[in-house]
């Protein structure tokens, strides 16, 4: 069985169509857009909170989107174990909604960064990573001004002990140090899950590197992992 996807659309989302295109056209999954004012998730099996600048990033990124009517349904869905993928602004919204711990600060450089980065995977046993080969370094683009992940010491320890840190920024061959950290995030964190492992927030954009026409396809490994979960 292939999962049915729901892509939430907030005012200011701008990666919603990319996400829709990838899951519906590249992976041939049934997909619906879910307008932020609605509360019906239309029987989606997987919810994507796409990238963009919801509500113009006013106040703090994701802070206003978090109170959209659709988010109550998303929180309820996630609490029941539903799979939620937040990409970039979607990650920021998950943090503001407290579905994931921590906050995003402005990039250390104060600059908006838009480039390909390399990611190492640190837990292969999740619904988001089961299709990634051990030691495979993923090449996925980022595009954000506030991706500097921050959380207090206890939270970071908890994330590490529970294997909730899924992706870290690295060199092309998987080396981890600050040189390869594009935004200043703690421990080079690029993506984390909740304790149960059904919610992933990541700053890199896997939906931007799935179509072979675009020259990069490492994003497919993440979507394939999700789809695999429903096949097994």
């Amino acid at each position: 069985m292939k999962p049915k996807f729901g892509v939430v659309v907030f005012p200011g989302s701008n990666c919603d169509h990319d996400a829709y295109y990838v899951v519906s056209k590249i992976f041939n999954c049934k997909t619906n857009f879910l307008w932020h004012k609605e509360s019906d998730l239309q029987e989606s099996d997987v919810i994507i909170l796409p990238g963009g600048f919801s509500y113009g990033d006013y106040l703090r990124s994701g802070s206003i989107a978090r109170f959209s009517p659709i988010m109550n349904s998303v929180i309820e869905f996630a609490d029941k174990g539903g799979i939620v993928l937040g990409i970039c602004n979607g990650f920021q919204i998950l943090l503001e909604a407290e579905l994931l711990p921590g906050v995003m600060l402005k990039n250390k450089s104060l600059q908006f960064v838009c480039e390909d980065v390399y990611l190492t995977t640190h837990n292969y046993k999740t619904v988001f990573t089961n299709n990634i080969l051990q030691n495979d370094v993923l090449k996925i683009p980022i595009a954000h001004g506030e991706g500097n992940y921050f959380a207090d010491k206890q939270t970071i320890e908890k994330l590490e002990n529970n294997n909730q840190i899924l992706f870290k920024y690295s060199s092309k061959d998987g080396k981890l140090n600050t040189e390869y950290n594009p935004n200043g995030s703690i421990l080079n964190i690029a993506g984390i899950t909740n304790e149960q492992g059904n919610i992933l927030g990541m700053m890199p954009h896997p939906e931007r590197c799935c179509d072979p026409l675009l020259g990069k396809t490492d994003g497919t490994k993440i979507f394939n992992s999700i789809i695999n979960t429903f096949n097994n």
Partner: protein, 85 residues
């Protein structure tokens, strides 16, 4: 009716790269004595309630749930009663 004036500040433990960058501007202005620049937010609004207790409850909920993110920010506020015109 009450008027609230809220200041949202980053917690001392949180880096403020924006403050650091602005301070570079101060240096360029020749203001070499300026230190520890931190940038916060000032927000004001009115609250249509009858007594101060209710006003406080509203402000604190607004601040802690939306205006400030308690992980990285603190807030302080002032309340004053205003006469309805």
């Amino acid at each position: 009716m009450y008027k609230a004036k809220v200041i949202v500040k980053r917690k001392p433990s949180i880096l403020d790269p924006q403050g650091t960058a602005v301070e570079k501007g101060a240096e360029n202005l020749g203001l070499t004595n300026i230190k520890d620049t931190r940038i916060g937010k000032y927000i004001e609004f009115s609250i249509n309630v009858k007594n101060e207790e209710e006003a406080k409850n509203e402000v604190e909920k607004y601040c802690s749930k939306l205006l400030a993110n308690p992980i990285m920010e603190d807030f302080v506020y002032q309340l004053e009663e205003i006469n309805e015109a």
